[in-house]
């Protein structure tokens, strides 16, 4: 789960991390007042769950309260389109107004989970304010990596070492190390998947400060952080993805695909998507209905796939285990009736009650091509998409 920058800033502040003075505004007038409080010079930042805001016009430097109001008016209520958003962009409901900071140096520090180290990994660099993946690709020696101990966490000497290696001035190493240690505490105590400060700045008046903050959280651990779960902003997500999420379905929308995929199991779902490529078409989505899905959940999954306007055909691939194919088939029929779709279906059903499931689909008069395995599915899909008969 992702949160907004202003929310991340508040979490960091509560952990004693130095951040610029800032406030959040929902109207141009609120933005004006905040800028007034900072003496007029400020930065106005659109609050969206996407990177690349600067290039997209979502970050504006202003030198008066009126300019702050104007900048906010230009962002609020509109959609911001960046290279990381879907094509229609994401809505801006709030802007953050922060005081301007006089920067002497820009650094980078982030913490992620490292599967090989089996521990949180601190990544830091002297090259702040840039795309860190580019730094990693072009000048990998400029990135410092230190794994936290899985049981003890990040030791203070590690944090001092990191601060020195990324070029923090020697008299600021101690506060920088404290800041890095606190970031590691946020990561661990809040079950974060990412804490990224880009840039971490050294100011001209000798402070170390987190100028921008991005924090993501492990969905699987939200049950023990209700205060984090409450920060969710569903509007920032794709509408279909949000609907699927609310229904407890793992669904990812892919832009421009023609074939909707409905599968149980993540690995089989990816395999099914890949198979559509073999059939000469792009998959429209990833969808794992999960293990013990009930009829109405299957129906909802089907309706989500059908309501994607890019979808021309649906590939259903179910391996009954805990999931029963007859239950799934009734769910598909329910979803088809609710939507009134005549979309062609290519269906593979194996395992528990597969024959009953296929019979239910046949009896319902849906436009179904039944196949025995993934290979046949590709062939059938090619025929269906080329308008051939089944």
């Amino acid at each position: 789960m992702n949160i907004h920058e202003y929310q991340a800033r508040e979490i960091l502040e509560s952990y004693g991390v130095a951040v610029p003075r800032a406030g959040v505004a929902s109207t141009p007038d609120e933005a004006r007042k905040l800028a007034e409080g900072f003496g007029g010079r400020a930065v106005v930042k659109a609050q969206v769950h996407a990177g690349g805001r600067g290039k997209a016009g979502g970050v504006k430097l202003v030198s008066s309260p009126d300019e702050a109001a104007e900048a906010a008016a230009g962002m609020l209520g509109k959609n911001l389109i960046t290279h990381q958003t879907r094509s229609e962009g994401v809505p801006v409901r709030k802007v953050m107004v922060a005081e301007l900071t006089d920067i002497a140096d820009e650094l980078y520090v982030a913490i992620t989970m490292d599967a090989d180290a089996k521990a949180p990994m601190v990544m830091a660099s002297s090259e702040g304010g840039m795309d860190i993946e580019e730094v990693a690709a072009n000048t990998p020696d400029k990135i410092v990596r230190v794994a936290a101990d899985p049981l003890i966490g990040l030791s203070p000497y590690h944090a001092r070492d990191i601060a020195m290696k990324i070029g923090v001035p020697i008299d600021l190493v101690r506060p920088a190390a404290t800041l890095i240690t606190n970031l590691a505490r946020v990561f661990q105590e809040k079950d974060a998947s990412l804490v990224e400060i880009n840039p971490l700045v050294v100011t001209t008046d000798g402070k170390v400060m987190a100028l921008d903050a991005k924090i993501g959280f492990e969905d699987d651990a939200l049950f023990r952080h209700p205060e984090i779960a409450a920060l969710e902003d569903p509007e920032q997500n794709d509408a279909l993805e949000q609907k699927a999420h609310d229904a407890g379905l793992a669904y990812v929308k892919l832009d421009g695909g023609r074939v909707g995929c409905m599968v149980n199991g993540a690995g089989l779902a990816m395999a099914t998507m890949d198979i559509t490529k073999t059939a000469g078409a792009d998959p429209a989505n990833f969808l794992d209905v999960g293990g013990g899905a009930a009829e109405d959940k299957i129906a909802e999954a089907f309706e989500i796939i059908v309501s994607d306007s890019d979808v021309e055909a649906i590939l259903v691939n179910l391996f009954g285990g805990i999931l029963r194919c007859d239950v799934a088939a009734r769910g598909i029929v329910m979803g088809a009736n609710n939507t009134g779709t005549q979309m062609p279906l290519v269906v593979a059903m194996r395992g528990t009650n597969a024959e009953e499931g296929l019979q239910i689909l046949a009896d319902a008069g849906l436009n179904v091509t039944t196949v025995g395995d993934l290979g046949e599915a590709a062939t059938a899909l090619t025929q269906v998409l080329s308008g051939g008969s089944n």
Partner: protein, 291 residues
């Protein structure tokens, strides 16, 4: 010989809720010797009138000599269950639970590192060995056939797909192992590849990987240097977009190494016969075996 389980396997199941009970029943029906159940409030009762239920894992192990633990408890308590089973001295612990917080696995893996227990999972379908009628987990027994191909995979249902393809071509399986879809898990591809390489019941190996992480790269390195048996590989997620979690917590493209195309290239370099699509895993094995 065989791997991980044998005719002396004595199964303990922890987490006998609706799904756990259903699956434990399936394990027994397949022929697995389940000797104990663990449920904190049902100690002293029987599972299916034949298997005693205990309040703690330690009690169950002491009373029954259980030597394999299977965990179905909800994700929030899964790490605790793993530690309880490790502390009870079970040599093999299989955790099916899906959605275990990754930080729980950081501390749990560190805790068990110097213990004699092998952990399989979490978020895995477990394992199954047709020759000894041993099933520890949720892989449907009816799709397997006894034979000499070992299967190892990060996935559940995709493993079933591969097994069906093999069975339909008359290619039986020695042992089938799901290592799980989480980024942090106990037993790895390399561990299972080593077991299959040393297993006199296995002639060839199917390895099914997916996008995300670098576990397939480590497997490729191991195969190149240590595996003499033919390996058929498959990597799914070629059509997955970057930065999005594809169901499995570990299946997310975070950089070049996580891409399907990169994993396929490295596996092929290591001499793995990579199936052109997930639909032809069985056919690829038939080709490699000259059938």
């Amino acid at each position: 010989m065989g791997i991980l389980i044998d005719e002396n396997t004595r199964l303990l199941v922890q987490g006998l809720g609706r799904d756990g009970s259903f699956q434990a029943s399936r394990c027994r029906a397949y022929g697995t010797n389940m000797v104990a159940g663990v449920h904190p409030r049902r100690g002293g009762t029987m599972f299916e009138d034949e298997v005693p239920i205990f309040e703690t894992v330690a009690d169950a192990v002491a009373a029954t000599g259980a030597n394999v633990g299977l965990i179905f408890v909800p994700a929030s308590g899964a790490a605790d269950a793993i530690i309880e089973q490790v502390d009870a001295g079970l040599p093999l612990v299989v955790c099916i639970s899906e959605g275990v917080p990754v930080q729980d696995m950081v501390t749990t893996l560190a805790y068990i590192e110097d213990k004699p227990t092998r952990l399989l999972g979490p978020n895995c379908p477990g394992l199954i060995r047709p020759s000894t009628k041993g099933k520890i987990g949720i892989i449907p027994g009816n799709i397997l056939s006894e034979g000499r191909v070992g299967v190892v995979s990060r996935s559940g249902t995709l493993t079933y797909e591969a097994v069906v393809q093999l069975t339909e071509l008359g290619i039986g399986q020695s042992t089938c192992v799901g290592i799980g879809g989480d980024p942090l898990h106990g037993t790895t591809f390399v561990d299972v590849l080593e077991m299959f390489e040393n297993d006199d019941e296995t002639d060839a190996i199917v390895m099914i990987g997916e996008i995300g992480g670098t576990k397939e790269q480590q497997a490729a390195e191991y195969i190149k240097n240590h595996v003499t048996k033919p390996v058929v590989g498959a990597i799914v997620g070629q059509t997955a977009p970057p930065g999005k979690r594809m169901g499995h917590a570990g299946a997310i493209i975070t950089g070049k190494a996580a891409l399907a195309s990169e994993k396929i290239r490295i596996l092929e370099e290591a001499g793995v016969h990579v199936a052109e699509s997930p639909a032809v895993i069985g056919a690829k094995m038939a080709e490699v075996l000259g059938r």
